[in-house]
């Protein structure tokens, strides 16, 4: 049963205003095609979550799609602080988002707990710091501090997270949604599997037979997936291992643009609202910067050794 559809259809059908979204990636495999479509469709009041975020989440915040953000970290890396995020928190532009802060240990484990059907999970970090003192929309359920029933020692418990929808970008998937990924994983596998529905964006759709040649690469089974979208260069300006490099100059472009509200709007008008889909986006990129610059992003050829699962 094929779940292949356009990103436009996937976002229209499966992302609702007010939903709780996990969006995978971090420089590696951010699902930018889907993120742009969420902005194009002016989705709002979203709660968004991921450990370590960058321009992708900054853009969603600047575009006014986000109400709440369960976060650990947001920055433009090399280019410093996240501008839209700062404007939201410091000046309420376009509005002040609510944030609930965890860490790159506790948050991935909360997603893991969600994926594994656990109500909560013990973590060893956060204790003794101001991260314990601040509580936002999760209130007293941000964490609980108990004495271990085993040995009486103090233990922090953090709750499982189960997003409504996960959106991830991977190298390849089949039409049922069996999603295969390699390289830096972040919290992608657990976040996707914690969600009630998964939208899989991929560089290439492959046959079920190709998936079956190397089933240990699958991180999400088809039965959890509601939509499969084929979006080559779908993670640009982030990268996808084996497909293309980070586009540092585009990252600089975004940082420069997002320095001001006007610049950010102009960026959206050009790169999000000014195009209908990823194909037009890439076409615009090539028109503007030239095919040579586009071609420079392509990954070099350096293949692994095949393995066998036969008996």
């Amino acid at each position: 049963m094929s779940k292949i559809m356009t990103t436009q259809e996937a976002i229209t059908r499966f992302v609702n205003d007010g939903d709780f979204l996990f969006i995978g990636g971090y420089i590696c495999r951010p699902p930018f095609a889907a993120i742009h479509e969420i902005i194009r469709q002016k989705k709002k009041d979203l709660t968004v979550v991921r450990s370590n975020t960058a321009d992708d989440f900054d853009m969603l915040i600047g575009a006014g799609c986000v109400k709440r953000f369960i976060c650990t970290f947001i920055s433009l890396g090399l280019y410093g602080l996240a501008r839209c995020f700062r404007r939201s928190i410091e000046k309420g532009i376009p509005h002040k988002i609510e944030i609930e802060e965890y860490t790159n240990l506790s948050l991935p484990l909360m997603l893991m707990a969600g994926a594994l059907g656990m109500p909560f999970v013990p973590v060893k970090d956060m204790v003794g710091t101001d991260l314990m003192k601040i509580k936002s929309f999760m209130g007293d359920n941000k964490y609980k501090f108990i004495d271990s029933p085993f040995d009486g020692s103090p233990v922090m418990l953090v709750p499982a997270l189960n997003p409504d929808v996960a959106i991830i970008h991977v190298q390849q998937a089949d039409e049922e949604g069996n999603a295969q990924m390699w390289g830096i994983g972040g919290d992608c596998k657990w976040g996707a599997n914690a969600a009630k529905k998964v939208i899989v964006s991929c560089e290439r759709i492959v046959s079920r037979e190709v998936v079956g040649k190397d089933p240990s690469r699958t991180i999400v089974p088809g039965f959890k997936v509601v939509a499969v979208t084929e979006e080559p260069f779908g993670a640009h300006p982030g990268y996808t291992p084996g497909f293309y490099d980070v586009d540092f100059s585009f990252g600089y472009l975004y940082q420069q643009a997002s320095n001001t509200v006007e610049g950010f709007q102009a960026f959206l008008d050009e790169w999000v609202f000014g195009v209908k889909n990823r194909t037009e986006y890439i076409n615009h990129y090539i028109q503007k910067f030239g095919y040579e610059q586009f071609k420079k992003l392509w990954a070099k050829f350096d293949y692994s050794y095949p393995v066998s699962y036969a008996y």
């Binding site: 602080l81 700062r86 860490t103 240990l105 003794g128 991260l131 103090p154 994983g185 992608c188």
Partner: protein, 266 residues
């Protein structure tokens, strides 16, 4: 006796100070910039069996260019293992295997607490910073934490505006009270002026060595808490020839480290 060329810049000295904290065989969790350079200097000099990892899921990467983030593409090809955050932050860090972590922050205080969350009031911030990321768990759980900081009264504080990452928190007994693992915590603060260590009893950072172009008095004056001075305070050993060679010839041929001079590390 090692040779000490005198054409080094301050960030190079700081990277070498970091390298010297790493022992052979150490498992080191690094971010980008200083930590990677320091850990790699160690690997190419006295600690060939030290192993590096990044929180994003990478163990023993073989990057062909300096990584610009923990998710940098150059960390993928050639690594010994790639998983995700749960593998590195959970299995290796919370599992108790990390010997050394590096941290930096917008503010660090006398107990080695670090702020990467907010300058000013949390609810009405003067400046909103990126947040913890991996810093809090590294500061909570690595056996030895090396802190990198600019040495001035803006970046160092008697008390940080917000404790993102625990040093010794409120002082002696605090880490124990909160149940943080025994024998963890900050070990050293490496600044552009000096090397500070933590007093075993008071848990307050004191002056161990001052860098060649400065003095005990200057460092004391630049430090916003009453800086105790070690009985055997001395000048920091400048970069050794072999350390600089590793850094300049192998790790950073384009001398990207100079960017730290622009950021005030002079």
């Amino acid at each position: 006796m090692s040779e000490h060329p005198n054409d080094y810049i301050k960030p190079e000295l700081m990277a070498c100070c970091g390298a010297r904290e790493i022992q052979d065989g150490d498992i080191v969790i690094v971010g980008t910039g200083f930590p990677t350079m320091a850990a790699n200097i160690a690997r190419y000099t006295h600690a060939p069996n030290a192993k590096l990892m990044q929180e994003s899921g990478v163990y023993d990467a073989r990057p062909l260019r300096p990584a610009l983030s923990v998710g940098d593409p150059c960390l993928n090809p050639g690594a010994a293992m790639i998983g995700g955050l749960v593998d590195v932050m959970g299995m290796f860090l919370q599992g108790g295997w990390i010997d050394v972590g590096f941290l930096a922050g917008s503010q660090v205080d006398k107990y080695g607490n670090i702020n990467t969350t907010v300058i000013g009031d949390y609810n009405a911030p003067k400046s909103r910073l990126p947040g913890s990321g991996g810093a809090n768990p590294i500061g909570s759980l690595a056996k030895k934490v090396l802190i990198i900081s600019l040495h001035d009264t803006r970046h160092m504080a008697e008390k940080v505006d917000f404790i993102t990452t625990p040093g010794y928190i409120d002082g002696p007994g605090s880490r124990e009270k909160w149940g943080l693992p025994a024998n963890t915590g900050p070990s050293v603060i490496i600044t552009n002026k000096a090397v500070l260590r933590f007093d075993k009893t008071t848990k307050v950072a004191y002056l161990e060595s001052y860098h060649p172009d400065t003095s005990v008095d200057e460092v004391v004056k630049l430090t916003p808490w009453k800086l105790e001075v070690s009985d055997d305070v001395h000048e920091t050993e400048p970069p050794r020839a072999e350390e600089l060679k590793a850094l300049r010839e192998i790790l950073d041929p384009f001398r990207m480290i100079k960017i730290y001079e622009k950021r005030g590390y002079v």
